[in-house]
């Protein structure tokens, strides 16, 4: 066990090192220079550009820049090129905005997809199953931005509530109940949109997992000895079908920082995805690289956690 943990941590650190190199190379070898973002700006004289390049070590060779950048990142001193603020501070601020979206979206995904998936596995081939299958394909296939506009039109014309942004502009002195309802409405649409793909995929997965377990011998045995149908489904089958999903808790970790670029820009939600998008537009390399690096860390941490959970949950796996 300990040797497994040690080995996989070392492996993940090596992977992370290469990820850092690859992302650094992708950004710095692409055509165009960050100092040319705004060539028409009269304040951008050659001297200023030169000072800018010196300040951010852009005049050094690439490997020196790499060392400088990751040294700064690991000591928390990286600053944005645009406004000279600390990158980690900016990300933290945006992260707090994205967090409610992530939490509500995850809760919606996990609470909806299990009942849907289990029910379609139980009524396999029936009307419910077929329509659930079709709807999950529909939800996977619908472009997020199009679905966003359908939902916006629906909510705005039927409920007459504003939904764009973090909260209604200038709501300042309303009663607290209205403030809370306002926040809930603003939170609801983007998180539902973030959850649609998840619901579709997860419910299909629950269904196939349930079907696989239902065809096992012990389920047949349970039926044969006269256990009521309810108990067969929920006690014998479901408990065993749940096993792989415990490990999926690890795999939702990357979603913490991968806030959707498209949905956040439609809803003017000041989250991480939108910050990353603005950073790409402004060629603010430190922010792009940091977001990339942190999401790679989260992906690796997520797979690590899910491996560990598998070890804990499934006694059949021995190392």
């Amino acid at each position: 066990m300990l040797s497994f943990i040690g080995r996989s941590i070392i492996q993940k650190i090596i992977t992370l090192f290469f990820v850092s190199i690859v992302s650094f190379l992708i950004i710095h070898l692409a055509p165009g220079k960050p100092s040319q973002v705004d060539p028409l700006n009269p304040k951008f004289t050659p001297e200023i550009v030169e000072r800018f390049r010196k300040e951010f070590h852009l005049d050094k060779p690439l490997h020196i820049q790499y060392v400088y950048f990751y040294r700064n990142l690991l000591t928390g001193k990286t600053v944005s090129w645009k406004d000279n603020q600390s990158v980690l501070g900016k990300i933290w601020e945006r992260f707090l905005n994205s967090l409610p979206l992530f939490i509500v979206g995850t809760i919606i995904t996990w609470t909806l997809s299990f009942p849907i998936g289990i029910r379609s596995a139980i009524c396999r081939g029936g009307f419910y199953d077929r329509s659930a299958t079709f709807f999950s394909y529909l939800l996977i296939s619908i472009p997020g931005f199009f679905f966003a506009y359908i939902l916006i039109i629906f909510v705005v014309t039927h409920f007459h509530v504003p939904v764009i942004g973090l909260k209604t502009f200038g709501i300042g002195d309303a009663s607290w109940l209205r403030m809370i309802m306002d926040r809930v409405w603003h939170l609801l649409l983007p998180s539902v949109l973030g959850a649609t793909g998840g619901i579709a995929i997860l419910s299909r997965y629950v269904r196939s997992q349930m079907l696989e377990v239902e065809s096992q011998d012990y389920v047949r045995t349970a039926r044969a000895k006269g256990v009521p149908e309810e108990q067969v489904h929920y006690k014998h089958a479901l408990r065993n079908a749940l096993l792989p999903f415990v490990t999926m808790f690890g795999l939702i970790l990357p979603g913490l920082i991968g806030g959707s670029v498209i949905i956040e820009s439609i809803f003017s939600w000041p989250g991480i995805g939108r910050m990353a998008y603005e950073a790409i537009l402004a060629r603010d390399y430190p922010i792009i690289l940091t977001v990339n690096f942190m999401s790679a860390v989260l992906v690796l941490a997520g797979t690590f956690v899910s491996d560990l959970l598998y070890l804990v949950v499934d006694p059949r796996i021995r190392l």
Binding site: S23, P31, S141, I142, P143, F146, I280, R283
Partner: protein, 386 residues
């Protein structure tokens, strides 16, 4: 009884009469959703081809870029106002089938033009990713147990530095490429004829030392690529590169081959232990022939399924990029950019949002349905006898 015996007898004597394609078709016919998916795909393909024919050239039949400011935001199926239009501005169809946008451009023509973009982006991106995936997965699965030796690394370094030096010194690219090919040829000849037979003594043996297996090398690279958030990576690269349709295809293709690699590797690992491969090897069949004639056709099933679903994903990604404004450059229409332009008029001109939106939805849905149907058909475990 007699009939069964007769049947058995006949089956024992004859080879199965159904060809693979026929059996495939029989299975496909039972899956109604997959059939619908296939039909829509064929229809979409025809429409995209038609769109390419009708909207390109110096004087296209339908002019997707023709601006008629006096005709802006006309409803679908409305007739053009002939008095205000100059003769060359009159739409050939005599009616705006899907209305016009805020600049008075015919949405029907623009949709046709965008269909071709979606189709090519989907197919070319997936083609690139499947090619890379089969190559990498095949190497990892078939040659994976071999190790990279120190002298291999040295050889590659020498070869690459040679090519780089050529590129630096000789400006014309084709000359550099030609030089690179010649150099590579000379090097590999030396490698085969001289280096392999050379007896090394003493400390020089370190050059023949194993470092890392090819399988580990490729799969670790896959792990590295999987660490990147895919849409964000694509967005970054597309934003940094000059805007063009080919860049988008290549970038989507280069960032989505990891799944195919894993499938092909797993298939190859199990196939190379199977009896028919051993038999082929025992017969002295060339290993490339084993790979291309015996193993790849048997490993294609999961690749085909993931490719079909990959096309759906690529079309969605392209639409998302166009929506954010990083698509094909402006005068050319794509479904994502039509929707993105039309969203400002969502209450006045809902057709500008709904037409491209439903078009993307239907096309992506048909690829997903067909892919899932394919998965069931090609999976022998789920196959029911009919």
């Amino acid at each position: 009884m007699n009939a069964i015996a007769k049947d058995l007898d006949k089956n024992a004597l004859d080879a199965p009469r159904r060809s693979g394609l026929h059996e495939f078709w029989q299975l496909l016919k039972q899956d109604r959703l997959a059939i619908i998916g296939l039909a829509i795909f064929v229809l979409f393909f025809c429409i995209a081809l038609l769109g390419l024919v009708l909207t390109t050239g110096t004087d296209p039949t339908l002019k997707p870029a023709m601006i008629r400011l006096q005709e802006k935001l006309r409803q679908p199926l409305s007739r053009p106002n002939l008095e205000t239009l100059r003769p060359e501005e009159v739409p050939r169809l005599g009616v705006y089938l899907l209305g016009t946008d805020d600049l008075g451009r015919d949405v029907f023509a623009r949709m046709l033009q965008g269909a071709w973009v979606s189709l090519t982006v989907g197919f070319v991106a997936v083609g690139i990713s499947v090619l890379i995936g089969i190559l990498m997965g095949g190497i990892a699965g078939y040659f994976g147990q071999n190790h990279v030796r120190v002298d291999h690394i040295l050889f590659l370094i020498v070869l690459h530095s040679g090519v780089v030096l050529l590129l630096l010194w000789v400006r014309p690219l084709w000359a550099a490429l030609l030089g690179g090919v010649v150099w590579g040829f000379i090097f590999s000849l030396c490698w085969k004829k001289v280096w392999k037979r050379w007896q090394l003594s003493g400390w020089l043996n370190i050059l023949r030392k194993d470092t890392i297996s090819i399988d580990t090398l490729i799969m670790r690279f896959v792990d590295i690529m999987l660490c990147f958030p895919s849409f964000f990576l694509i967005l970054t690269v597309v934003a940094l590169l000059p805007a063009s349709m080919y860049n988008i295809m290549i970038v989507i293709g280069l960032t989505s081959w990891m799944g195919t690699t894993r499938f092909v590797r797993a298939e190859f690992l199990s196939l190379r232990e199977q009896d028919f491969v051993t038999a082929a090897r025992a017969l002295g069949v060339n290993q490339w022939r084993i790979i291309f004639r015996h193993m790849i056709p048997n490993a294609m099933a999961p690749v085909l399924v993931s490719a079909t679903i990959g096309i759906a994903t690529a079309i969605l990604t392209e639409a998302g990029l166009s929506f954010l404004g990083f698509g094909v450059p402006p005068p050319h229409a794509t479904w994502g950019s039509i929707l993105s332009d039309g969203k400002r008029f969502i209450f006045d001109a809902p057709w500008l949002t709904f037409t491209p939106g439903f078009a993307i939805l239907i096309v992506v849905l048909c690829f997903n349905l067909f892919g899932e149907g394919l998965r069931d058909i090609l999976n022998p475990k789920l196959r029911q006898r009919y």
